[in-house]
């Protein structure tokens, strides 16, 4: 518990530290990282705890982002309505996609979740009414009662939702439901033979994760005041998967650590040129993915439990 609170304290104090160092620009970047952390955490529930290799999680993030944004341009500017609606819509999408996908196993499951997300990607691309492939630009962030235009306020709102999600995930993974989810991951045949309706548990897990992904999407759209079909592109699903693997599959903090590491790394590479490397490969900064690939390789080879597994005393949550 102390470890969790310490990590929370770091995030709580971050804006103050950045203000003190006169680097307030980074607060917006930090918000973005935390939103991705929320999205990756939601994927980790499905992927890490549930053992379901979903390659279409961006579909739920995208659903949330689009529902919140469309509501906004249609005049519903209150976040109190738009965000719960985004969450509910993403849950519904997860229910429909999950109900079909979860009848398959293994590679088929990976492919079918990918296919659903891609179908939604192309659907939104052709939805000219709401920007089509150019996306939708919003005049400002939604109304919440606090001024979300203020980067510090926005950061704390995002942090609140991330902390809440982590706490709920913590409760869930230690609950009866969480045990069953892990049991199904470990041995589906036996879980069924014990009398657990495997499909129903998996679907419930998938829907909860989808809903949380939708919330992340709504926050993402509010953050950038912009949404485009690219949030549903399969590379986005891939990015979330990389974050989970990088951070720690089936670890409470896996999604957060993965998002911080991945986006932090991308940012470092893009913003701080290394002289000798630039002389060698002039445009290397546009190829941050190469570095990400190397780091991912190192993690998979040398830290199979992700960054979370490197901490002393880190115990694999419920597994």
């Amino acid at each position: 518990m102390r470890k969790h609170l310490a990590l929370l304290a770091v995030f709580l104090l971050l804006p103050l530290a950045l203000a003190w160092a006169d680097q307030t620009f980074y607060i917006s970047l930090a918000s973005r990282i935390l939103i991705y952390a929320l999205a990756a955490t939601s994927l980790n529930l499905v992927l890490g705890y549930g053992g379901m290799i979903s390659f279409g999680h961006a579909a739920f993030v995208g659903t949330g982002a689009y529902v919140a944004s469309i509501l906004f341009v249609e005049g519903v500017t209150s976040a109190w309505i738009a965000w719960p609606a985004a969450l509910a819509a993403a849950a519904l999408a997860a229910l429909l996609i999950g109900a079909v996908s979860l009848r398959t196993r293994g590679a088929y499951f990976i492919m079918i979740t990918l296919a659903f997300a891609q179908m939604m990607f192309y659907l939104l691309n052709s939805m000219k009414m709401y920007g089509g492939d150019e996306g939708l630009t919003l005049p400002r962030r939604p109304d919440l009662g606090v001024d979300l235009g203020n980067e510090v306020a926005f950061y704390y709102v995002v942090l609140f939702f991330l902390a809440l999600t982590l706490y709920l995930l913590y409760r869930l993974t230690n609950s009866r439901f969480g045990r069953v989810i892990v049991a199904i991951r470990e041995n589906e045949q036996r879980a069924q033979a014990l009398g657990f309706p495997v499909y129903r548990y998996r679907l419930a897990c998938f829907v909860i994760a989808g809903a949380a992904g939708g919330l992340a999407g709504a926050l993402l759209a509010a953050h950038g005041k912009y949404v485009s079909p690219n949030v549903l592109h399969w590379t986005q699903s891939g990015t979330l998967m990389i974050m989970v693997i990088l951070g720690g599959v089936g670890r409470l903090w896996g999604g957060v650590l993965g998002a911080v590491a991945l986006l932090g790394l991308e940012h470092l590479i893009a913003d701080y040129p290394v002289g000798w490397l630039e002389a060698l490969a002039p445009n290397y900064q546009q190829h941050a993915d190469l570095a990400v690939g190397l780091v991912l390789l190192a993690v998979v080879l040398f830290a199979p439990h992700g960054i979370a597994g490197l901490f002393p005393g880190a115990k694999r949550a419920r597994a």
Binding site: R171, L172, N174, S175, R176, F177, G178, R179, V180, V182, A183, E186, N187, Q189, R190, A191, Q192, A193, L194, G195, F196, P197, V198, Y201, A204, A319
Partner: protein, 247 residues
């Protein structure tokens, strides 16, 4: 208690079971024997619900359960163990059993309350572990247990769901003499509480445990009766028992 009426199953052109009719009476240990490939495991699957029958009916306590999903059958008190050990290998023994207890005690669509606080689950799990003679292994990762202990856990997982009838698919598979003896004792102890349908190749165990024996050959029941009758049955000797009983 369990009635199979004309159960059949074929996989493509291969007939696994044909027109199997069988009665298991409440309280008995009913052994199902037969040569390899006779269809015993298929039949267990048909009773447990993991294999859908082509035709026929399964009645449990007088109720037709043919159309029920496996988990619904477990809820009615019909549990099984597997021929190939199927446990939660990466979880500790105690958690394996606690999961089984959890499956039969209330809903598990509970997202908030920590399981660790449910003393009753773990108390019952410890009871089963004691029954299995594994009280000293509660916190061992179950894949690290000895083969015999894993086989005991395999049976224990079925028992922990508090079944009325348990299907044991070759519980002695791969066990040494001493481990087999302990398994026989376990089944003997358990048989006072639950009805047992036992698939087994170990004839010493079968004749020691069984109240009645049915013989499955090429997917058909060729004989069914008390152990002495089966021992004396010419057809059974020819088809299966062969020299094993000549001695």
């Amino acid at each position: 208690m369990l009635e199979l009426k004309g159960l059949s199953k074929h996989f493509g052109g291969v007939i696994a079971t044909r027109d199997v009719t069988l009665n298991v009476a409440r309280g008995e240990v009913h052994a199902l024997i037969g040569p390899n490939g006779a269809g015993k495991t298929t039949l267990i699957g048909q009773v447990a619900g993991t294999i859908r029958s082509d035709s026929g009916q399964v009645l449990f306590e007088g109720v037709d359960i043919t159309a029920l999903a496996p988990h619904q059958r477990v809820r009615r008190g019909l549990a099984r163990s597997f021929q190939i050990t199927s446990i939660f290998g990466r979880l500790p023994l105690l958690e394996n059993l606690a999961l089984a207890v959890q499956a039969r005690s209330g809903s598990s669509f509970s997202f908030w309350k920590p399981v660790a606080a449910e003393r009753e689950l773990f108390r019952q799990a410890e009871e089963v572990a004691a029954d299995l003679g594994l009280s000293g292994r509660l916190h061992f990762t179950s894949s690290s247990l000895a083969h015999g202990e894993q086989r005991a856990l395999e049976v224990g997982l079925a028992l922990a769901t508090k079944p009325k009838l348990v299907l044991l698919d070759e519980p002695m598979a791969g066990l040494g003499a001493e481990e087999s003896r302990r398994m026989v004792e376990l089944i003997e102890r358990v048989s006072g509480r639950v009805t047992v349908l036992l698939v087994e190749h170990d004839m010493d165990a079968v004749f020691r445990l069984a109240d009645r024996i049915s013989v499955l050959v090429n997917g058909r029941i060729v004989a069914s009766g008390a152990p002495q009758e089966i021992r004396a049955n010419e057809e059974v000797r020819k088809a299966y028992l062969g020299d094993e009983l000549a001695a």
